[in-house]
């Protein structure tokens, strides 16, 4: 019975660990998408009138703003301007469809964490020379190329012929997978008539500490509002989003999940240990006579302690290993069947498994000590007294 409860404890620990790990993997992948080290600058319509400007005025960032913004920063680790065009007609061969387009700079790949499946991303040369190249998402590849490698083919976007140089798959972002990335300059020239409007700016913050990124965000926000004549209290005209704070928030959530899982597992183990101690106490009581006999036959106290502790240890290790094996087995069996957005690749770290066994052994010894000491204190006379 105790063996079963210990096995169950370890089993639950292992499975919870695995599930927790899976959850963590899944959530991490979701947020790893673009929650890393970046500050996003967006413009919108103003809420408040300011300096003779009406409310509900559309704020437009321009390339001159980007240049000026760089002067406000000590270091620009990475950046990308962004142009968004919601729907463009795309054709290749006899297939066609309507898909969104983004004009970006090379750093965009790193900032948006885009994983290429074929070819290459937009390069600086593409931006400098405004080449007609495109990097397309996997949904596009499915719908226009039937899933075949599109690199090297030509794709008509809004009536202009582009060469496809790469494709990407971002499993956590279905929207992005419908997209074609073009060099910022090309998209600007062809689809924005060469005006200098910028829809969004992403700034990479590299290894800046969180406090520095927060200070930078605050500074840039104030600076932008001043420059674009937006009321200091306006929430919409210009907004900056600091992903570092988000990132840290998620890190804390992960830590919380992890602690929670460990807590449950350890408490289960503790329950198992109490069970063992209890069973051993009963066993010692039942074996009072035997222990008395052993003492009469010359057993020393240490050999009695050894006997009891050894028994508890064996019980713990054997049933613990059983739980471990069954738990790991279940995870291995179930793992390939699960593929959910927020749940990926449940598994147990080998070190955690070893640690669990170590804890079991320790707990085994500790829970054996109490009953063992009681066994030692048994006086042979009392033990052997006939009923």
């Amino acid at each position: 019975m105790t063996g079963i409860s210990i096995a169950l404890g370890v089993f639950i620990l292992v499975v919870m660990q695995g599930l927790g790990f899976g959850l963590q993997n899944g959530v991490k992948e979701q947020f790893a998408d673009d929650a890393v080290n970046s500050i996003w600058v967006q413009s919108g319509r103003t809420q408040l009138s300011y300096r003779g400007n009406q409310a509900n005025r559309r704020i437009q960032m321009r390339e001159s703003d980007v240049e000026a913004m760089f002067n406000e920063m000590d270091t620009v680790y990475a950046y990308s301007r962004r142009i968004r065009i919601w729907g463009m007609q795309m054709e290749s061969g006899d297939k066609a469809g309507n898909f969104p387009v983004r004009g970006v700079d090379p750093d965009h790949q790193m900032l948006e964490n885009t994983k290429l499946s074929h070819g290459r991303y937009i390069s600086q040369r593409d931006v400098d020379e405004a080449t007609k190249v495109a990097v397309i998402g996997t949904t596009l590849v499915e719908e226009i190329y039937d899933g075949e490698n599109p690199v090297g083919t030509h794709l008509t976007i809004g009536g202009v012929l582009f060469r496809v140089v790469g494709s990407f798959d971002d499993p956590a972002n279905r929207w992005e997978n419908k997209m074609a990335y073009l060099p910022f300059s090309t998209a600007n020239k062809l689809f924005r008539a060469g005006n200098d409007k910028v829809d969004q700016i992403i700034i990479g913050t590299g290894d800046m500490p969180i406090t520095a990124t927060t200070a930078l965000t605050d500074h840039l926000l104030t600076w932008f509002k001043e420059r674009k004549s937006v009321h200091p209290d306006d929430q919409r005209g210009i907004s900056l989003e600091n992903n570092n704070e988000e990132y840290e928030k998620f890190q804390n959530i992960f830590l919380g999940i992890e602690l929670f899982i460990w807590g449950i597992g350890l408490l289960t183990l503790l329950a198992g240990a109490v069970g063992v101690a209890n069973i051993l106490a009963i066993a010692v009581k039942e074996r009072t006579k035997e222990i008395g006999v052993r003492k009469a036959l010359g057993a020393t106290s240490s050999s009695i302690v050894g006997l009891v502790v050894q028994e508890s240890l064996t019980l713990m290790i054997v049933s613990g290993s059983l739980g471990l094996v069954v738990g790991v087995g279940l995870l291995e069996f179930v793992s390939p069947m699960i593929d959910h957005e927020y749940f990926k690749n449940p598994q147990v770290d080998f070190r955690i498994a070893l640690l669990a066994l170590g804890i079991l052994a320790l707990v085994g010894v500790l829970s054996g000590i109490g009953p063992a000491l009681r066994a030692v204190s048994i006086r042979p006379v009392e033990a052997l007294r006939d009923e």
Partner: protein, 189 residues
């Protein structure tokens, strides 16, 4: 010998170093046994003393041979040597064929003979027997007493506690106890 409550078992427990004593002196093999630590007592028990109990006190999940070998385990004898010597003493009590049996597969007389073999295996100087025949019928009682007498003849001191006269009559010296006092101490011829 003596009636219930006369103190015979207490005396035996003191002799067997299973119980302490408050007054008087106990000298075993030339050494005082007063105020021994548990460790030292265990050492003396294992070296000088063998025990035989009324209720046999064999360990239920061990075979006859393993029961006999147990004292040797506590003396640190190797497993092979233990088994050889255990078999030797089982032969002495005539139970070679029962070596692999568990205690609950043996009769009362056989159990007591296993217990005697266990008491003997450590080569003790003294065997302390607490009502060795208390749980046996008169025929097996006689057999057990004969065995104990034979062993006595080999130079091992036997201390037998009993309240049965016919068992006491088989001993060389009879000490009568009553309420913890020695009433008579006679040599039985």
């Amino acid at each position: 010998m003596g009636s219930s409550g006369s103190g015979k078992s207490t005396l035996l427990n003191i002799l067997g170093l299973l119980d302490g004593f408050d007054e008087g002196e106990y000298v075993l093999a030339g050494e005082s046994m007063a105020d021994l630590s548990e460790r030292v007592a265990a050492k003396y028990r294992s070296r000088f003393l063998g025990f035989v109990f009324q209720s046999f006190n064999l360990i239920g999940f061990k075979t006859a041979m393993e029961n006999v070998a147990l004292p040797l385990y506590y003396q640190g004898v190797s497993r092979k040597e233990r088994n050889v010597r255990a078999m030797e003493f089982l032969e002495k009590v005539g139970l070679t064929d029962w070596a692999e049996h568990l205690p609950n597969q043996l009769s009362g007389g056989q159990k007591q003979r296993v217990a005697i073999a266990r008491a003997l295996v450590g080569k003790p100087r003294v065997i302390l027997a607490d009502e060795p025949t208390g749980a046996l019928d008169s025929k097996t009682s006689r057999e057990v007493m004969t065995l104990l007498r034979d062993l006595n003849g080999e130079g091992i001191t036997m201390v037998v506690v009993t309240h049965e006269h016919d068992i006491a009559e088989l001993c060389d010296r009879i000490i009568n106890l009553h309420d913890g006092q020695i009433l008579t101490d006679t040599v039985n011829v």
